[in-house]
């Protein structure tokens, strides 16, 4: 097995395990609480509106916004980690069909693994830090992933079919 395939297959399986463990932890310990908080804060906002208490309406909606922000990023990180892991495994199985030298295959595999690991991680970090750094990491890692995927598509196209 070439080093590039090893990076993709082992890296993909490891990433899938990380994504599943994160998903299991979140489903058991955090998801129901998050959904309860989202629903309760929204209902509370309208109950306060019925009482004509705009200050409490705003407080409840801020609570709703924060809970939803975190919930959506947790779910996105889980889904993207597992989805990208499956993609790495599929690419790893087929990687010998890429018409590049072994050295460039390895570079491409490392770029794919780095993008697939860092992008969901940066989404998760956004729940802890609302500043520009995690967003910049998201942009950089997704850009790396897209560039590496484009190169892989080019490599597959270079490898002519035997008809």
């Amino acid at each position: 097995m070439t080093a590039a395939r090893r990076v993709l297959l082992i890296g993909g399986i490891a990433l899938a395990v990380v994504g599943m463990c994160h998903g299991t932890w979140y489903a058991v310990f955090a998801e129901h609480q998050a959904l309860d908080r989202i629903g309760a804060s929204l209902a509370s906002a309208f109950t306060r509106a019925a009482e004509q208490n705009p200050a409490q309406v705003k407080a409840s909606l801020s609570n709703y916004r924060e809970a939803k922000y975190v919930y959506e990023r947790q779910v996105d990180a889980h889904g993207h980690w597992i989805g990208l892991a499956m993609l790495l495994i599929v690419l790893g199985i087929a990687f010998d069909r890429i018409g590049f030298s072994e050295k460039w295959q390895l570079v491409l595999a490392i770029a794919l693994l780095a993008g697939a690991a860092l992008f969901p991680f940066s989404v998760l970090v956004q729940t802890l830090d609302h500043g520009p750094l995690p967003r910049a990491l998201s942009v950089a890692s997704s850009g790396l992933m897209i560039a590496a995927m484009a190169a892989a598509a080019w490599g597959f196209a270079l490898n002519r079919p035997r008809v």
Partner: protein
Amino acid sequence: MHSTIDSLLAGSGAHFSRLSARRLLVLGGIGLILVGMIFGDIFAVFVLHQNAARVGAGLGAGAGAAFAGDGASVVAHFQDVGSFLENRGTKIDTHVHMIGFGYLALLLAVLQPWIAFSEITKRNLAWLFLLGAALLPLGVFLIHYVGLAYSPLRAIGWASIIADAGGLCVLLVTAAYLTGVYHHFRGAGLRLSSDSLLDSRATSATRLLVGGLILILVGFAHGAYYAASDLYHHEAQDYTILSKMALGAASRDGVQIDNALTEYAQLQGDRAVKIAAHSHIIEFGLLAMIMAFFQPYVNLSERWRRRWTSTLLAGSVTLPVCVLFELRFGLLAGALADFGGLLVVVALLAMWIGIVRCAGSLDAGPEMTS
């Protein structure tokens, strides 16, 4: 061409004999994807839009109750909204998990030659996987209808218990197969033993591989564009519109509530079609790439294999593109999106039948294969 495929098939025939683990996982995996897609199409046509309208109506009724100063009714209306969202969420989860398990079954089928267990063990694990993969979506689908009826637990109903048991089966089988892969590589020193199935360079397989990769690439680019241009804007809009709605109710301003309800429905629609287009194009791309590996098992002529490949790729482009235009062109785009989904289902069904035929020819002996 046919002889190339036949020679590949002869090499991989050992892994695809009657009721082998690989055959069970390939046929079961494609079957799960097909059922999941048909379920998704039925859900999109008969449930999705009606349910979205009910959620919107429930939110409007909640805002109306707040406008009338009736706090108790607000809570009741939001409980209704919660119930509608649960109904929608469990249907989507059924659709997504069935297709996801189908993909996982196909990936595990590819890995079969590198799993260091006896064929009987692998076959029993495959049956257990398929049982779990069927039970989880079924249980999730029933959650909304069964609720907590006759449940021995306070918070979790029978449907959730069945779904969790199904998920546990899938998790255990996947872990067992990965253990088998570990034992294989520990013995073979990270060498991949030959599996001629993966050596296929037929045009149909290459088209699926490259086409699938391009679909995923387009999906990634669209996702990046969505994140840059819409994601944070949508989140801010969600908060702003709900604030307008609630503060309108607090100040007894009916016009502001109505405007906010209209804006909120448009926002949810815009967001839903963009996310659906992003996820569907990537999933179809992944499906095309995985199906590329199994082309040698599709017992059809290369010409027909290419036709079904083109049909699958055409449907994979049509559905997400038309979903994206649903807000602008309404029912026409929706109907075309459903047609795209149908193309993918038909192409996948044709490949599934080809694989059944292949297994049938293996059962009947080499003279049938030739």
